[in-house]
């Protein structure tokens, strides 16, 4: 494999979905939903196959040869700034490209069934493909600016997809919120990039890494850059304080939630940190910030997830919480552990969302049959006992629930446990405790969701329940594939204390060439120095215990004695209301950010319009009457105000220069 032979296939990975988007955008209206969906699925599936092919060849290469920077020509060269259209292929970007295109293919396939009756299916598939294009550009980009291109692109596409059903103003405003909050994060990203550029004169990953090489640990430059870039990551990956957009973004179609909010866009922030590991490893303060924000988000979002009634809202807060785990891992320098959770989470969270979508789709169908458009098909209080009605959905959902709750041997156990272990082993035991609590809460709210939705009896009555039937294969097939992956993916990154057959941690080995800088290794040695197998066993058993506790409590409250849950809510009405209101963070932001900005703008506007007595443009000056009425009117109007302002401006500028 060489740079030349890679150029075409590597470019095809992002370009195939772009082509799909263009074709669907231009000719979509002449096709039907199936054809349009098949085209989109084929486009992204093609990307996956190309990535897979590269992956297979990649494993043949020697470790040090697994990095290719393919340059497709100059983008802009201004002054000392030079940027190229370049794509970077290394284990990290390949890993992301693989699971993004893979999961996205399944979600595209699922969408054919889910969105089949939607009139603007072509637009939907075009957006979906465009989103995949932006996401793949983000991870394959060879410098900060190409990455930023994808970074903004996913923001824009998520805006389009979330606001897809635009007849609903609430959904439109959710899309807008996602876009705007992301822009605030992007502000941090851009500032970080400019900081690097100002000090190192380059925006190329390789050159920035070289420029950083000589700096001592704790130097201000990597610290500041890492913190600024992290602001960008909190926006894209929905961490405190910028997580607020993600739960609202559930307004989009459910497969979109699965794609954007489980598998792809939200993991962009983690990718960015992993890509800049050399910065973070030099900046212990920034790493600690990342870890604290991650742990806090994991716990905070989990508490909100406990009481939500909308099935997708629970999953949304669960996503925020799980992303917190990944940031926690990054923050203690356990990059591969964090990335491993990114991958396993992509599988089981996509499965959870698609499963929820399958339930919602079925509920819609039933409500349609009985002509009921008032009840909310996403409210779990209307569900129950669906296990019998939707067997495939149920069994696959069960797999995902066990995986996310952290029971062995499913994928979530290995990845989450690895994170908690690394956090503990690096000496961050308060953060570990937070992570452990969040694990218990995760298990509780996930089983609560499972029991409320699938167990017990259907709360809409037997007659209505008869209308339920399992969704078609095009929707259940992705569920089954993802269920298999959720079950077995954990063995790719087997922790060594469980590695009885000496298979080795394949995941770690695969990513090893990326994280080999001196400071990365120092962090790694810290773990090995503290670790011992007995402690690792103890921690693993501890987290299984906590998960079991969550399971048992959920079973008692929501399956065996449902009245207990209500009693608990009544006993602590204030706390319950606070949780339902999501700790009122949205209201806080409204008061602290939105209102002051609006007030400031109004003040600016008034300043500009000062002297406008009538406020409207309705003067009656006439050029022919210059000597009479016109001049008088002008003098009483705005012109003297303008001239006064200008003369004052000149005087100020003169004074400024003369007094220097």
């Amino acid at each position: 494999m060489s740079v030349e032979s890679l150029a075409l296939p590597l470019a095809l990975i992002p370009l195939l979905p772009l082509l799909g988007a263009v074709l669907n955008g231009l000719f979509g209206r002449y096709t039907n939903a199936r054809l349009s969906g098949a085209l989109a699925t084929a486009a992204i599936g093609g990307s996956f196959l190309v990535a897979l092919n590269i992956f297979l060849q990649f494993n043949q290469l020697p470790e040090e040869g697994r990095r290719f920077l393919v340059n497709y020509g100059p983008w802009m060269h201004v002054g000392s700034l030079s940027l190229d259209w370049s794509l970077l292929l290394d284990p990290l970007s390949l890993l992301y490209a693989l699971f993004i295109s893979g999961v996205a293919t399944l979600i595209h396939l699922y969408s054919i069934g889910y969105m089949g009756k939607e009139p603007s299916f072509a637009r939907y598939f075009a957006y979906l493909n465009l989103f995949s294009f932006a996401m793949l550009t983000l991870v394959l980009g060879g410098n900060y600016l190409v990455m930023f291109l994808g970074w903004e692109g996913v923001g824009l596409c998520s805006y389009l997809l979330i606001g897809f059903w635009f007849s609903d103003p609430e959904k439109a405003s959710a899309g807008k919120k996602a876009f705007v909050v992301n822009r605030i994060g992007d502000f941090g990203f851009l500032l970080g990039a400019f900081l690097l550029f100002a000090n190192l004169g380059s925006l190329d990953y390789g050159q920035v890494q070289e420029g950083m090489a000589g700096l001592p640990v704790g130097h201000w430059l990597p610290t500041a850059a890492a913190l600024l870039l992290f602001v960008g990551a909190t926006g894209k990956s929905a961490q405190i304080p910028l997580y607020v957009w993600l739960p609202d973004a559930m307004a989009g179609p459910t497969p979109v939630s699965a794609l954007i909010h489980a598998a792809t866009m939200v993991t962009a922030g983690l990718y960015m940190i992993a890509r800049n590991h050399f910065l973070y490893s030099l900046a212990p303060a920034a790493l600690l910030t990342v870890a604290i924000v991650g742990a806090s988000t994991a716990l905070f979002a989990a508490t909100i997830g406990l009481v939500q009634r909308d099935i997708k809202k629970v999953l949304a807060y669960s996503t925020v919480s799980q992303l917190g785990y990944m940031f926690l891992a990054m923050g203690v320098g356990a990059y591969t552990a964090g990335l491993f959770h990114v991958v396993t989470h992509a599988f089981f969270k996509a499965l959870l969302f698609l499963g929820a979508g399958s339930v919602i789709h079925a509920m819609h169908h039933v409500y349609h049959k009985v002509h009921d458009h008032k009840r909310d098909p996403q409210d779990m209080r209307n569900m129950g006992g669906l296990a019998k009605r939707l067997p495939i959905t149920y069994w696959t959902f069960l797999v995902a629930t066990i995986a996310i709750a952290g029971f062995p041997p499913f994928a979530g156990f290995f990845s989450k446990d690895e994170i908690l272990w690394q956090v503990f082993a690096t000496g961050h035991w308060p953060l570990w405790l937070m992570g452990l609590c969040a694990a218990g809460l995760t298990s509780f709210y996930m089983f609560r969701l499972l029991f409320l939705t699938f167990h017990g009896t259907y709360r809409g009555g037997e007659a209505e329940a008869a209308h339920f039937h399992e969704n078609p294969l095009v929707m259940t097939l992705p569920l089954m594939i993802l269920a298999v992956l959720s079950a077995i993916a954990g063995f790719w990154g087997l922790p060594h204390f469980l590695d009885f057959a000496h298979l080795g941690n394949r995941f770690d080995e695969f990513l090893a060439p990326v994280f080999h800088s001196g400071s990365d290794l120092a962090l790694r040695h810290a773990v090995e120095a503290h670790g011992n197998v007995a402690l690792e066993w103890a921690l693993a058993l501890g987290s299984i215990g906590v998960a079991t506790l969550g399971l048992l409590l959920a079973r008692r409250w929501y399956l065996l004695k449902p009245e207990l849950a209500d009693a608990a809510a009544r006993r602590h009405p204030k706390l319950h209301q606070r949780l339902l209101d999501k700790w009122r963070v949205d209201e806080l932001y409204e008061a602290v950010v939105v209102k002051p900005v609006a007030a400031f703008s109004e003040a600016c506007s008034r300043q500009v319009d000062a002297g406008l007595i009538d406020g409207a443009v309705n003067g009656t000056a006439r050029l022919a009457q210059l000597a009479g009425q016109g001049v008088r009117r002008l003098q009483s109007g705005r012109l003297p105000h303008y001239l006064t302002a200008m003369a004052l401006g000149v005087a100020l500028l003169l004074a400024l220069v003369f007094t220097r």
Partner: protein, 167 residues
């Protein structure tokens, strides 16, 4: 104080005083006639500075041409000769203070400056140099000015005509 300085002061005073009158008289016709003295004062200053040709042009074009046209315009328009202009009003104090401030700042620069004198002798006549300049170095400004005048004339004519049609 020699006679030259005295004359310069006189012309300067004439220019400024008549300009103030132009700005502050409420009678349009008075303002028009006062402008005559302003132009004349400027022409005098040109002469004192040795710019003979420019002084002649000032008298011929500004006084003989533009000002006469202006006065004709005022006198031939029915309402204009007796029109009263509102000057100043509530903003007079504000404007005065601001004007003084600007003047003060510029005077600061004027008094700080050394104003070095050129040692070159003044040219005897300037007309031929100016003529050559307009044909060579300053040819482009000359041409651009013609476009400027053309555009202004076109617009003014049309605006006047339209305003007339309206009534």
């Amino acid at each position: 104080m020699d006679i030259k300085t005295l004359l310069e002061l006189m012309f300067g005073l004439l220019t400024v005083a008549s300009a103030i009158w132009v700005a502050f008289t409420p009678k349009l016709l008075h303002a028009g006639f006062s402008l005559l003295f302003t132009f004349f004062g400027v022409a005098g200053l040109y002469v004192m500075l040795g710019a003979d040709f420019l002084a002649a042009v000032q008298v011929l074009v500004y006084i003989g041409g533009i000002l006469v046209l202006l006065l004709f315009g005022i006198l031939l328009t029915t309402a204009m000769p007796t029109a009263e202009l509102t000057v100043g009003g509530t903003r007079r104090g504000q404007g005065l203070a601001l004007g003084m401030l600007l003047l003060g700042l510029l005077l600061l620069a004027v008094f700080r400056a050394g104003w070095p004198l050129s040692m070159n002798a003044l040219p005897e006549t300037t007309a031929s140099d100016i003529g050559k300049g307009f044909m060579t170095t300053w040819l482009l400004p000359f041409e651009v000015a013609s476009i400027l005048l053309l555009g202004a004339m076109l617009g003014a004519l049309h605006l006047a005509r339209r305003a007339g049609e309206d009534q």
